[in-house]
């Protein structure tokens, strides 16, 4: 139950209510919206999928964008595995549920537990998260048709604003802040000039520029 009472959990729930509302607004079927939350369980991937779908990007381009963005899950899973000692296939199954919020909460809740209790606790936690997030998606989707116009618009706006602020809060280093700023600044420019691959260009150019500045600063410090 600790997962439900956490601020992170509440923000995630609200984000998925917003995601459901956004899906309704864009015209994604309710079943597909709920299915994406159940199966993907990573909001950035889902946003890229829905956002790409909304702007009419080719499926292959969206897949590439999702692939590039989901690479951030790899270090998250790696750092959590020491707390999830089990056979290979069990670990493989457990890894499916790891995304940003599950990672944050597991880092907080798993270490104090005795090691044999961690895996059952983890599976309980992620089941709760998955059920809550699917419920939130359906709730947001259904709400969006019932609310007065101004509130429905507020619901659609919930995903962008909460995600932007969460992205800012989760930033650790200069690279994170710079790539966030570059992404925001470059997206409208590339959307205007680079056609259907704009998202990939935004990521690659913004990320590379942020990384280069980080490298240069590191070298300067080393001298």
């Amino acid at each position: 139950m600790a997962g439900l009472t956490s601020v992170q959990g509440a923000v995630l729930f609200a984000s998925y209510v917003g995601f459901g509302g956004l899906c309704a607004d864009i015209g994604v079927p309710l079943g597909a919206a709920a299915f994406s939350t159940f199966l993907i369980a990573a909001l950035p991937s889902q946003l890229l999928l829905i956002g790409g779908y909304a702007s009419g990007s080719a499926a292959l381009v969206i897949a590439l964008a999702v692939l590039l963005s989901a690479a951030r899950l790899l270090p998250s899973v790696v750092t959590l595995l020491p707390y999830l000692r089990a056979r290979f296939w069990t670990q493989l199954f457990a890894s499916h549920f790891i995304a940003v919020t599950v990672w944050v909460e597991s880092r907080r809740l798993l270490p104090p537990l005795p090691s044999e209790g961690r895996l059952p606790f983890f599976f309980g936690l992620v089941t709760l998260f998955n059920v809550s997030c699917v419920t939130a998606t359906v709730l947001g989707f259904l709400l969006s048709g019932q609310l007065p116009r101004s509130l429905a618009i507020g619901l659609t706006f919930l995903t962008p604003i909460s995600f932007l602020l969460a992205l800012t809060r989760n930033s650790r280093d200069l690279v994170d802040y710079l790539s966030l700023a570059f992404g925001l600044a470059l997206a409208p420019i590339f959307a205007e000039f680079s056609g259907r691959l704009d998202l990939l260009w935004t990521g690659l150019v913004g990320g590379a520029a942020a990384w280069l500045i980080h490298r240069l600063r590191k070298q300067k410090r080393a001298i």
Partner: protein, 116 residues
């Protein structure tokens, strides 16, 4: 192919092949290569940068070039709600909740006073 795109299954296939597989492959690779990876290696930092810029890009695109209800809201209000949310977030010593509430308040007020 067209028959498939027009069928009700298309969004579900997109979820599986365009959302689920490209996401989960990283989770599986992490389990397979866990021992050989360093979270703070330069490659990982680069990947983090690309991922962050791309997600920031897709979000701001939803605000600047919306497709649904948000279209009826003037651009200045959409940008104002984002900027206001950020401003209050920092003002409230990095409280995501208060920042979101501030941004939402601007957006909902903007929608209320700008009927479609």
């Amino acid at each position: 192919m067209n028959a498939l795109i027009n069928s009700g299954f298309w969004p579900y296939l997109l979820v599986i092949f365009v959302g689920f597989l490209p996401t989960d492959i990283w989770r599986w690779l992490a389990v397979i290569f866990a021992r050989r990876l360093d979270e703070d290696s330069e490659l990982m930092i680069f990947v983090r940068g690309v991922a962050t810029a791309m997600v920031a890009g897709v979000i701001i695109r939803l605000v600047l070039f919306p497709t649904g209800d948000l279209v009826s809201i003037p651009l200045t209000i959409r940008i104002g709600a984002v900027a206001g949310g950020f401003f209050v977030y920092f003002l409230a010593r990095r409280s995501t909740l208060i920042g979101v509430i501030a941004g939402e308040a601007i957006m909902i007020a903007g929608a209320y006073f700008n009927p479609a």
